[in-house]
């Protein structure tokens, strides 16, 4: 990693910082950047001091500490050392904030992207029908939910009835 150990002599600009943030990816799904995820809520620059507000996805998401560290390292590599990262709990993160580019990247990676508007209604229906999700691999609409709880807090486990492959669905969280 090309790292400048001396403080950057030029003032940080919002544009520059946003560019650097686009380099920080989700540790679990490396095709997604934190900007695609919509977890960076605001950026403020006061002279040399950078303040960033990020919003955690799930309460217990273990990637958030890693993401915060990665942000710090990425900025440090460009000489920006005066950084404060705040955890902004409200408004709560929702998959509505995921960018269209992010959704495409997920699908290309083999994870079915969230389908808007399908969130908590399901949680209130016992034994109700699961969200219908298209297989990201063979594109068939004949799939079924295996478990609401998948490999990570944000994902559910589905299986395709046509190609028989299991796949992750990024749950709509709204």
């Amino acid at each position: 990693m090309d790292s400048k150990l001396t403080a950057n002599s030029s003032q940080p600009t919002a544009q520059k910082i946003w560019q650097l943030l686009a380099d920080v990816s989700d540790p679990e799904v490396p095709v997604l950047s934190i900007l695609d995820l919509g977890i960076v809520r605001s950026l403020a620059i006061d002279g040399e001091h950078i303040t960033l507000n990020i919003t955690p996805t799930y309460s217990g998401c273990p990637a958030m500490n890693t993401i915060a560290t990665d942000i710090r390292l990425r900025l440090l590599a460009e000489g920006y050392a005066t950084l404060t990262i705040h955890n902004q709990l409200s408004p709560a993160w929702t998959t509505d904030w995921m960018s269209p580019a992010g959704r495409e990247k997920l699908a290309a990676y083999g994870i079915a992207p969230p389908i808007d508007g399908t969130a908590s209604g399901h949680a209130l229906h016992l034994f109700g029908e699961a969200t219908a999700v298209r297989c990201p691999l063979c594109k068939s609409g004949h799939t079924h939910l295996v478990s609401q709880f998948g490999s990570t807090a944000c994902k559910a486990l589905y299986q395709c009835d046509d190609c028989r492959e299991p796949f992750d669905y990024f749950k709509c969280h709204a």
Partner: protein, 269 residues
Amino acid sequence: MALPDLSPAHGATLPYPAGLRHQLFQYVVQLADTSLILAHRLSEWCGHGPILEQDLALANIALDLLGEARSYYQYAAELEGQGRTEDDLAYLRTAVEYRNPLLVEQPNGDFAHTVLRQFLFDVFHYELLSCLKAGPDERLAAIAEKALKEAAYHRKWSAEWVIRFGDGTVESRQRLEKALRTLWRYAAELTAPTELELGLQAAGLVPDYAAVQAQAAAYVAHVFGEATLPVPTGAFAQPGGKLGRHSEHLGYLLAELQYVQRTYPGLTW
């Protein structure tokens, strides 16, 4: 490298007078302890679940609760303002200082036992979070808003399993009934207010438990009906956890939970 500073943006203003702030601190610690202890119990299932998908479900629920606990501990540490961190609160207090209700420290038992313990907690937790989300404390409302989305799925998971067990086979029903005979006595404590809670209810910071209890009871009745189970009528209730009077189980649990931090004080990585 030091852990990144994830201090919440809204933590700056604490408008409460000192006495009330201390009471709120104690209540938030109670919320944190409750979620932490239950998360720990669920994590004990990791690798031991009856089938893979349920092993994952239990671990996922545990993780949600652990995240919620961390949010509460962080807030509590700020309210206390004595320099203690979330880790100090979670790892360096003794059993008598914990304020979780007795239900969540009960051992896992078999899968039916864990399911029922989870269900009795989830119906209460869902209603409590719904109230806190609409309450006047901004931070609690923010934590509750987030946790409520997850709690809805926890309650769905545990309710569906209660129904499968109750309206299942002879054996599944027997196992659930056995769990009920052991655990029912711990349910009432969840909505039986302590002096601390009464004081905070008067200040409008903690919701009225009568309303929470009514909603939870209605949901229990509905799910037990689907499970073809009678709702127990016994009035005996075993309280004490919220006052620091715990069962013998908590000591062993904390010995595991706190072992590393206590063996290597101040450990970081």
